[in-house]
């Protein structure tokens, strides 16, 4: 039952928010905090090496097609759900309100969060798909209604890209269902049941590509990344956090949760190709980030680059790589939120977010500069922050299977240092430019939120063991054991 409530709470909040008007933001924060508390309680109850679901809930939805409304939480889902709740909370707490419009805004935002949580918790493939698609609508609304610049075009492009991937995944999901039905006469969309079914011939490869299409767009992976920078740049800050910190993670989650367990053999076959694209994403997106002038675009490409590590870590098919991928997802969620929040504050107060116009913020407001410094260092993977742990483990795992790819991936760390330091140097150092001189320190709530994010990042960097324990779950290790068996 608790699994259902974790999904329902933000959904109920989303329905109530429009009526709360000005009080919607506090309401949404309370709802998200309650959700996070529930997750933390679940975590504390969990025995370290718990093999079963921590909580699960199932009821019939469409019995004619064997569709169940089935949620389940294991350590993996728990870690990402908790991150999602906390980051969403930080996004709302760390940005100024929108007055009367806050009701509708928070409603749509919470709907997006609920959909993301649905993706993390769903154990029925159909339900997973519905939640995966449901993320789209709130995002489009947030961008179109509260975005800036070419918001409509950006939102429609984002929609078309993700919809293409999504529909190809739908065909794959239905294909799996039909193959199972033909073989056994039982209609089901249950992930575990479908994963246990052997797929004839090359069907596994075809279906895997369908799934991969959806995740490659969402993550995004090169060459499906062209929607991303525009959408991030046009979205309101909270929307950009929703996209970067929450929705991008659903792709990495889906890769580990669905693609590898459902098609282990096909994934083994295609792993070199997928890893190659992952490494390409890491390097090329970092290269793009270095060339951008818009702060949000730098963050967008850096986020694509960092999530490339998630793909290669997952495809390493070993404990180290997978753990690294999850740690990277959680830490990237925290660090990108911090970056977006402090830079949103900077561009709000200075009226500029172009690197050519900004400068000298440190001298005007050292406190703001300090926060920028910390988040930039976390992003570039300084040891001591969680991002370093994630990238290191993912690359180390990758190196065990694909040494060349592992070595190339390490270059990404150098590139990320280059663009991250450029971001820091252009905004904070030098003589204050006219816009840069207008910068003021973060308000108290934002300081609190940013400090909390930093504590989280450092905790992950110094003591990631609780998280590592949490994500060694049988649903994920099964595919690895199969892969190891095939390798030997």
């Amino acid at each position: 039952m608790i699994a259902l409530w974790i999904f329902l709470l933000p959904l109920i909040g989303a329905c109530l928010a429009p009526f709360a008007r000005r009080a919607a933001r506090p309401l949404a924060i309370v709802v998200l905090a309650a959700d996070a508390m529930a997750l933390i309680r679940l975590w504390r109850q969990a025995a370290p090496a718990d093999t079963t679901w921590l909580a699960a809930w199932t009821t019939e939805w469409v019995p004619q097609l064997g569709i169940n409304f089935a949620f389940g939480i294991d350590g993996f889902a728990l870690s990402l759900s908790l991150m999602a709740c906390l980051v969403a909370l930080a996004a709302l707490a760390g940005t100024p309100g929108r007055g009367e419009e806050d009701g509708a805004f928070c409603g749509w935002f919470l709907l997006g969060v609920a959909a993301v949580l649905g993706v993390f918790l769903a154990t029925d493939l159909f339900l997973f798909f519905v939640c995966f698609e449901l993320m789209l609508l709130p995002t489009v609304v947030l961008i179109v209604r509260w975005g800036s610049g070419e918001a409509r075009a950006a939102a429609l492009r984002f929609f078309v890209y993700t919809q293409t991937g999504g529909l190809l995944m739908l065909v794959s999901i239905v294909g799996l269902h039909v193959v199972h039905h033909t073989a056994t006469g039982v209609r089901t969309f249950d992930t575990a049941t479908l994963a246990a079914m052997p797929l004839p011939g090359m069907l596994g490869h075809v279906f895997l590509i369908g799934f991969l299409a959806a995740f490659a767009v969402k993550l995004p992976m090169v060459p499906f990344h062209t929607w991303q920078a525009r959408a991030y740049a046009c979205a309101p800050t909270e929307g950009a956090i929703l996209l970067a910190a929450l929705m991008a993670k659903t792709a990495g989650y889906g890769l580990l949760r669905f693609v590898l367990p459902l098609f282990p053999a096909a994934a083994m076959d295609l792993a070199p190709w997928i890893v190659a694209i992952g490494i390409l994403t890491v390097l090329y997106a970092a290269w793009l980030a270095y060339g951008q002038q818009d702060i949000v675009r730098v963050i967008a490409y850096s986020s694509a680059s960092h999530l490339g590590y998630v793909v290669v870590g997952a495809l390493a098919f070993n404990d180290l790589g997978r753990t690294g991928a999850v740690v990277q997802m959680v830490c990237h969620g925290l660090s990108v939120t911090g970056l977006l929040l402090v830079f949103a504050h900077m561009s709000r107060t200075t009226g500029a977010r172009d690197l050519r116009e900004l400068g000298g913020v440190w001298r005007v407001s050292p406190s703001l500069g300090a926060f920028v410094l910390v988040f930039v260092l976390a992003t570039l993977g300084l040891p001591g922050f969680g991002n370093f742990m994630g990238e290191f483990m993912a690359l180390a795992g990758l190196f065990q299977r694909f040494p060349l790819a592992g070595s190339l991936g390490a270059i990404g760390a150098v590139l990320s240092a280059a663009y991250a330091l450029r971001l820091l140097q252009r905004t904070c150092f030098g003589a204050p430019t006219p816009p840069g001189g207008r910068a003021i320190g973060l308000p108290a709530t934002s300081v609190l939120v940013s400090a909390a994010l930093i504590v989280g990042l450092i905790w992950m960097g110094v003591r990631p063991q609780p998280l590592v324990d949490l994500v060694s779950v049988p649903t994920l290790t099964g595919a690895e054991q199969l892969a190891q068996g095939r390798l030997e």
Partner: protein, 474 residues
């Protein structure tokens, strides 16, 4: 007699209408009687269902499945009357015979739904088509409507001739005029060139009726020119009769499949999806956009016809249900917004709908709900219909066709969303271009709201509806 009661009532009502009109010309009275007739026919459906299944001469076969299609057509006609009451009143000084034609058309489509024989099918089709010519050209002040009516008259007459000639050829070779006899013919008989030619001609005619590529050219012009209320009927109820026959006889697992027929359906399904969706992308008129998108929807349904058996039949029925509800709702909104006095054509440009949801939350909401359902966004009836179609296609391993379906649906989602975004965005600085009609009448509001709600409710909790659909096809 009892099993035909709905059709009998449908046939009697126009006569009653004609008599009352000759005595007293009053719009309200005529519409009320027409609605009562439809209501009575709908109420007779359970009575008829108790006697099923039953053959009525060699021409008609009344079964639960056909009856369900008839019921849906009746509901569509009733919705069109309720939503379109003010619309018709504003457009035409003598609107009474409009209802006579509408009811006769409904009777025609119902007769087709029960038909087992070429003759009954053809008669039903003609009854339907001839009333539709009249309906399209009914508003005399609307010259586009007249143009649409004439266009449809010429093309539909040609297509009917094709159908008749095709039937004659099939009869000449197989010696039977029943659909049963046709599908039970041996593969050898079916592959004779005369039968093939006959079947090809029948396919052309049916393709015209359903507006499938390459027989789709009439669709955008008719949708654009004909009154919205008539389009709402023609695009939904007018197709139900044909679909009933196709589902009943050509989705059974045993029918010998001629390879030529499969190739034809594959090609026309793929082309309908591609042409419909791509052409809809560039439209600036809402009615034309809906026309091209309806071609695409027919393409999606055709994918189900590449499969056989229960799932395919359920796919078609469920898809049609979602499509019908959403279509009537969307055209209903167009009708309601096109009722300012003196207007001779429908509110057409997509730009006219900018900011609708702010000014008319209900109308905007209904339009957005139906557009999202058309686009196949999860938790709408349209999405589940699409899922069913993919299921049917996947059963036959039609991966290529399904890939086309997925990719063209993206284009579909794009143009529907574009309209939805326009409806939801703030009106531009200039005065809102769409007229704000006087207060909506209560029944119109209720019908529109119920249609939109159904689209969403069926999408969220489809189990009860699916149970009924299951029952119909077992």
């Amino acid at each position: 007699m009892l099993s035909l009661l709905p059709i009998v009532l449908l046939a009697v009502t126009p006569i009653v209408l004609l008599l009352t009109i000759s005595a007293e010309r009053r719009h309200g009275l005529t519409a009320t009687i027409a609605l009562l007739g439809l209501g009575a026919a709908l109420a007779a459906v359970p009575t008829a269902a108790a006697t099923l299944p039953r053959d009525v001469t060699v021409l008609l076969h009344v079964d639960a499945f056909g009856l369900a299609y008839v019921a849906l057509a009746l509901v569509v006609a009733a919705c069109v009357i309720v939503i379109g009451y003010r619309y018709v009143e504003v457009r035409e000084r003598n609107p009474e015979e409009y209802y006579v034609l509408l009811l006769i058309a409904t009777a025609g489509t119902s007769a087709m739904a029960f038909s087992t024989h070429f003759i009954s099918f053809y008669l039903g089709l003609e009854i339907l088509s001839v009333s539709q010519y009249g309906l399209m050209a009914y508003f005399r002040r609307d010259r586009f409507g007249t143009e649409a009516g004439v266009k449809y008259l010429i093309l539909a007459a040609a297509s009917a001739a094709f159908l008749l000639f095709g039937m004659a050829l099939v009869y000449a070779e197989l010696g039977t005029m029943t659909f049963e006899g046709m599908i039970s013919a041996s593969a050898e008989q079916m592959s004779s060139s005369i039968v093939l030619l006959g079947v090809a001609m029948m396919c052309a005619s049916i393709g015209f009726k359903l507006s499938i590529v390459p027989f789709h050219y009439w669709t955008p012009d008719i949708y654009d020119g004909a009154p919205a209320s008539v389009v709402a009927f023609v695009s939904t109820a007018g197709k139900l009769g044909v679909f009933a026959v196709l589902v009943r006889y050509f989705l059974v697992p045993t029918s010998p499949v001629s390879e030529a027929l499969v190739a034809f359906v594959t090609a026309s399904a793929v082309m309908s999806m591609v042409v419909g969706n791509l052409m809809a992308l560039v439209q600036t008129s809402l009615k034309r956009l809906l026309a091209y998108s309806s071609i695409a929807h027919m393409g999606y349904i055709s994918v189900a016809f590449l499969s056989f058996g229960e799932v395919a039949a359920e796919a078609v029925t469920f898809y049609l249900l979602g499509y019908t509800l959403a279509s009537v709702a969307a055209f209903g909104v167009i009708m309601v917004l096109s009722t300012e006095p003196g207007r001779t054509s429908d509110l057409d440009r997509i730009e006219d709908y900018r900011g609708l949801i702010r000014q008319r939350p209900l109308l905007g909401g209904v339009l957005v709900a139906s557009l999202l359902s058309f686009a196949g966004i999860p938790l709408t009836a349209g999405f589940l219909g699409k899922l069913y179609v993919i299921l049917a296609g996947a059963q036959e391993g039609q991966w290529f066709v399904l890939a086309v379906l997925a990719l063209t649906s993206v284009a579909g989602a794009w143009y529907y969303l574009r309209v939805a975004v326009t409806v939801c965005s703030a009106a531009t600085d200039e005065a809102p271009s769409h007229p704000v009609p006087a207060a909506l009448s209560g029944p119109t509001v209720v019908v529109l709201a119920v249609l939109a709600l159904l689209v969403v409710v069926i999408g969220v909790y489809p189990a009860p509806v699916l149970a009924v659909v299951d029952l119909l096809h077992n």
